[in-house]
Symmetry: C2
């Protein structure tokens, strides 16, 4: 697949101008852009520029309402429930995590749960917000149903990522992962390359293992059954019930606490309804926050220094790869695949923006049509 290299600044300008053209304020557009580009900078290609087309379609179809403002419908010193009114997920989520951070700074810890939002980008962005404020941050979201519970043949939970971040030196602990064994994005990559899926990833419409990425993806879109296995696979032998359990944890913080839609009811009949959950904990409630940070830093270093498995040269702690990717991409630019650039050009055309100014004069002959429906 061909890639085109853009600098962070180039993509930031394009993305901000695009969201302003959609009708967001400059301040709002900068916030959305910051979430999307952190994903590309962290090497999580699926949730950055590649995801723009979904926001484009979401706004076009009215699933995402540009002028919606998040509304606090219930609140205590340690909690809030936010009604998103189908607004842009990133804006609602930054607002919600900021509330959790403010409350945690005053009360020690707080949970803010959100309903009727939209796709919010990478969960890790919001966990990192708390971490940047010196707190322990948690961020989760449900999504269109894609996880098939153990012994079922129908997707009932979302990819339901859980992100956790806590200050440490020389870089924070930063964990951000779906509770499915892989994300839909991974299946899309295999589909584009016409490669068979590895065993233990996906299920067909009868609930049997499938290596056919195209079939699984078509079934997901058509809600015909099947989907992705929970972390731990499809049977209890490798712990399917555990991934399914973490998916439930995510659902509790997102859809249950907020009184919103569980994943199996979102994205049906022209309705979005995505729910999020955010938690912030001030480490000072356990005494010496600096001491806790040092304690975690020591453990992370011990993990990195632990003896390596035969054939391995490095043990990563969570967040290390992202820190390395960030440094590399800030210096060397961000490689965007040609299909995504084609989608960005379509977006420019739709918004009456000069694509050549933002993206350069690109030869799209090697690009394929987007797989987004």
């Amino acid at each position: 697949m061909d890639y085109i290299n853009y600098s962070y600044e180039q993509l930031k300008t394009f993305c901000t101008d695009a969201f302003v053209a959609f009708g967001f304020t400059v301040e709002e557009a900068l916030k959305i852009t910051d979430v999307l580009l952190l994903s590309d900078l962290y090497g999580i290609e699926s949730h950055g520029m590649q995801r723009l087309v979904r926001y484009h379609k979401g706004i076009e179809k009215g699933l995402i309402k540009v002028d919606a403002k998040p509304e606090t419908v219930f609140e205590t010193p340690v909690s809030a429930v936010i009604e998103g009114h189908d607004g842009m997920g990133q804006l609602i989520s930054i607002h919600a995590m900021n509330m959790a951070i403010e409350k945690a700074k005053k009360s020690g810890m707080a949970i803010v749960s959100v309903r009727n939002s939209n796709h919010f980008g990478i969960a890790g962005y919001y966990a990192k917000m708390a971490c940047d404020a010196g707190l322990v941050g948690f961020a989760m979201t449900n999504s269109e149903a894609i996880m098939v519970p153990t012994f079922s043949r129908l997707a009932m939970l979302g990819s339901n990522p859980i992100a956790i971040s806590m200050p440490a030196e020389p870089y924070p602990f930063f964990f951000d992962a779906s509770t499915t064994v892989v994300t839909r994005g991974k299946l899309e990559v295999y589909n584009k390359l016409s490669k068979p899926l590895p065993e233990g990833w996906a299920l067909d419409e009868n609930g049997n293992g499938s290596s056919d990425a195209e079939r699984v993806l078509k079934n997901i879109v058509g809600k015909k059954g099947g989907g992705i296995m929970p972390l731990g696979g499809s049977t209890e032998k490798l712990g399917s019930h555990k991934g399914y359990g973490y998916g439930m944890l995510c659902e509790i913080f997102c859809s249950i606490f907020s009184g919103g839609l569980t994943s199996n009811h979102t994205h049906i009949g022209g309705k979005g309804g995505t729910c999020h959950g955010f938690m912030a904990i001030d480490p000072a409630v356990f005494g010496d926050a600096a001491g806790l940070k040092e304690h975690l830093s020591t453990f992370l270093q011990e993990l990195r220094d632990a003896p390596k498995a035969e054939g391995q040269t490095r043990i990563y702690t969570h967040g290390e790869k992202e820190i390395l990717a960030y440094a590399d991409r800030m210096k060397n630019g961000i490689d965007v695949n040609i299909n995504t650039v084609a989608e960005m050009k379509n977006l420019c055309d739709y918004l009456h923006l000069d694509s050549i100014k933002y993206l350069g004069d690109v030869d799209f002959s090697s690009s394929k049509q987007s797989s987004y429906k």
Copy 2:
């Protein structure tokens, strides 16, 4: 393997009298017994009577101090850090979770983190305590290092279970699982049966996959390297980094928040040092607690009613199997395997209790020596 059936009351009498004989008060002995027997009633054989021998050895070696009392070393309205002074894990943990529950009832939510404790039984017991009080409960513990982080060949984290429980009808959501793909108990069962371990469970001393249960267990005991894989296996293909990440979440709530020993430093040089983490959340901080309970109950029912995979007849929600096992065992008694009964008899002899009175006149000819070192 032969089993002997005892009623709940028989085992309760035996277990309570045994802990009284160790020097605990009747009230303390009843608490410890309640934790251990809930495990057997829930069908989690590894953590009930079978685990008695470890408490026996722990007290005998002085790792568990019978007269230690938990001390609160730091406290806020939403948190506490407890120094366990090497006391009995169950007593410290019931005390700690009660603190979390009391604080959550006043402040909305609370976390209590514990250091220098001992094995506390099943994590789920404490999550259930909060659930029984109408709250959302979380309980975690670290342990002797047994989880090999992704790309390592040395166990650095414990089995690090995370338990979560929330009220629902007709029975609560109750999730209790190690963050390793399986527990050490599973390896011990395979070892006793001389069965090869399934692929994706364990690693040898070089960090390569191993099906040799005896070798892996010997290496763990001798701290020679290897151990059990995180949930998700040993490579990123099936999500090893995710199980490792949940293991880290557990470590943060247990050893980091409490300033205690991380798993890789516990159980070394005659020191225990197990750490626990407890969290309670009052659902009323999100508005209508009864509404939340109903919302979760509906989703759980939808999951149970979802279409089954080919060849499957039932989808379980978390806690359902435990509820079924509980009803069965309360009615039909608890089957205790002959090796465990032999350990219980040894315990009677050690404590100068009349084993025939408690256990009956058992024929031990089919029992094997305990694998506990």
